[in-house]
Symmetry: C2
Subunit: 195 residues, 2 copies
Amino acid sequence: MKHRIITIGREFGSGGRTIGREVAERLNIPCYDQELIEKLAEESGLSSDYIKNESEYASHSSWTAVAFSSVRSLGVPSNQDYLWAIQRKIILELGEKEDCVIVGRCADAILEDTADLLKVFIHADFASRSRRIVEKYGETEEPTEKRLRDKDKRRALYYQFYTDREWGAIDNYHVILDSGALGIEKCVDIIASLY
Amino acid sequence: MKHRIITIGREFGSGGRTIGREVAERLNIPCYDQELIEKLAEESGLSSDYIKNESEYASHSSWTAVAFSSVRSLGVPSNQDYLWAIQRKIILELGEKEDCVIVGRCADAILEDTADLLKVFIHADFASRSRRIVEKYGETEEPTEKRLRDKDKRRALYYQFYTDREWGAIDNYHVILDSGALGIEKCVDIIASLY
């Protein structure tokens, strides 16, 4: 029998990770996110810092440059591709192993055929997201709106590059919620009630 | 105090109208949809048949042609513009008058500033929608997929033309649900629980 897995895509600062953790806690199943980075690190033999720099989460990564570089066009896999392959393998294994919540990392596309998915996407207006990232990560020299746009652009590109789908396009998700308007708790309630 | 109004945008065949009616029944508030067409007809002095032909619901309307015709580019309002103005006025009056559900008709954009909105969008995969329109409206000579695409295209164009927003774009809605995957009843539960 296929495992029941909730995948959560999210705009930066929308509280998607918090929602994922709270849903998992409510349902008493594991939530994979930071844990996944650590698993990735172990399996690849690379340091967790290195992975953070190369992953979709990198704040100044050269990933977008790498994605379209001339090296890649020659068919040579990048470090990013290597990480993607490892990450994909881990997510497929999770899909075989247990019911869980997986935040980000294209898990919706990776597990489409092998798990019973509830595909969620969380978004919010700029004002709510700005407040949230300043609370969580503090101010930086970069304007908040630019931080949000850059991170979202990177996530969208990453998702599209590896899945050939459009990030945040309605057809890819079963439930799309505005956490700014509804609040984190209501989002958790809805997702848990659908499980 | 602003009235609490649920607006429901929907892909053709996704069951959005049924969901709107069931939510309204559950909450014991009115649902405006077909009723709105009739109100339109009374107020404009035009026959209900005429309105059906000119509205977003027209199956072979010349609306898209009219929208971009040379007449309109000279600033001459079309019949469609006239209907839009009447419809907008009725929706604004509903927003002043009572809590309710309004299906379609750009009500989300029209009432943005004057009501307390819960903005919902319903979509579904082609297979579910095809089954639904054949059940509800029967077969026609036109292939089902073409009927779906044409109607959605018309709705998207209508919405964009009159609101300057993108129909079905996630930022415009608080809750977006896949009625094909979740089922009509679950959608009704979620929307009613958020009211």
